[in-house]
Amino acid sequence: MPTLTIDGHTVHADHGQFLLAACRSAGIQIPTLCDHPAVEPYGGCRLCVVDVTRPEWNGWCKMVVACLFPVEDGIVVHTASTRVIEVRKVVLDLLLARCPDTPLVRDLAARHGILATSYVRNQQPTDCILCGLCTRICDRMGMSAIGSVDRGAGREIATPFREPPAACIGCLACAEICPTGFIRYESGTARRKIWDKDFDMLRCPRCGRSHITVAQADFFAGRGGVPRSYFEICDVCKRKDLAVAATRLACATETPAR
């Protein structure tokens, strides 16, 4: 079990664990924007930088992103050294130049003492911080309908050819995971629209609630193993069924015991 020192505390971490998780398990907070338990770490936002050193390095230390750095036995970590704070401030300052009107960015920057960017303010402000959560969750769902397009200052999240994406099933995972609400959609009882693509909604045969798109049901059923009807019934009704079944089971097991 690797043993490390984080801000003066001795921490026992798991093999293969990333430093960010080890810090958190020790109760040390590190700001992050691209980290999420549902997806693999990405190292995109650079906010989670920390200093790593060893006693034998004679004061030399290296800066790493905690979310992607696997713990090592004997390392000494500083999560809030002057150097680390400076770097985080630069990152937030740049992010604020890109997204000057985005509450999430403004709040985080303000908490680090940055009230206005010292760089040139983006002339076309956007709410997208390029955290890559949407594309990673879309990959995770197995669709990969959206991706990162172009590069440098012009980079953005977009669909192939900037057209309604063929691969999209309208699950809204991207919009729900997006920390800034940048991905817009409309969802009603009959139709849903995201990424400029229209979807028909499916109504639960029991309660009539529109809960998923027809495309979602088709996709899940197409993966095999479970019949389509399973996906047609909404979660609320499924839970009810489960509760009823559990009660019956409980009564049935109680009876002989009497």
Partner: protein, 160 residues
């Protein structure tokens, strides 16, 4: 068949067939395939990208990411000869702006543009690593060092 997408619905699929034959049908082949497609068609036609995505088993969004990330790839048809004027620091100081102006004047296109007969495309690039012979213009595969505006005309003739 009417293809609403573009005027390029009539791409020659034989070319991409031959390219796909050369590489294993897997994700690591992607960039090589795209490079060959770019060379064969002078750009990356949408339908070919869709085809490549299917054949290599790489999601179209990933193919599009790669296609838009690298400067070597273009999603619009390029001229048969591509002219790149270096605008890196050394070339800028030694007269790149005059060279761009000269090409623009002679061909009637702006940087990023292609002549109507698809003979030439003009692009500006950052340092091409040949600062000692700045300013540099690359016409097709030919590197012209110490380029002079007056000397460019000879390289901008059509039909050889």
């Amino acid at each position: 068949m009417g293809d609403a997408m573009s005027g390029y619905s009539c791409v020659d699929h034989g070319l991409v067939d031959a390219i796909l034959e050369r590489y294993p049908r897997e994700e690591p082949s992607l960039i090589q395939v795209l490079q060959d497609v770019q060379r064969a068609y002078n750009f990356l036609p949408c339908e070919v990208l869709t085809r490549v995505s299917r054949e290599l088993g790489v999601p179209l969004s990933k193919v599009f990411s790669v296609a838009t990330f690298y400067k070597a790839f273009s999603l619009t048809p390029q001229g048969r000869v591509i002219i790149k004027v270096c605008t890196g620091t050394a070339c800028h100081i030694r007269g790149a702006p005059l060279l761009i102006e000269e090409v623009q004047r002679r061909l009637g296109i702006l940087p990023g543009g292609t002549t109507e007969d698809a003979a030439f495309s003009l692009h500006t690039v950052n340092c091409v690593g040949a600062c000692a012979m700045a300013p540099v213009v690359i016409v097709g595969d030919k590197y012209l060092g110490n380029a002079k505006a007056a000397g460019l005309a000879a390289h901008l003739t059509r039909g050889e």
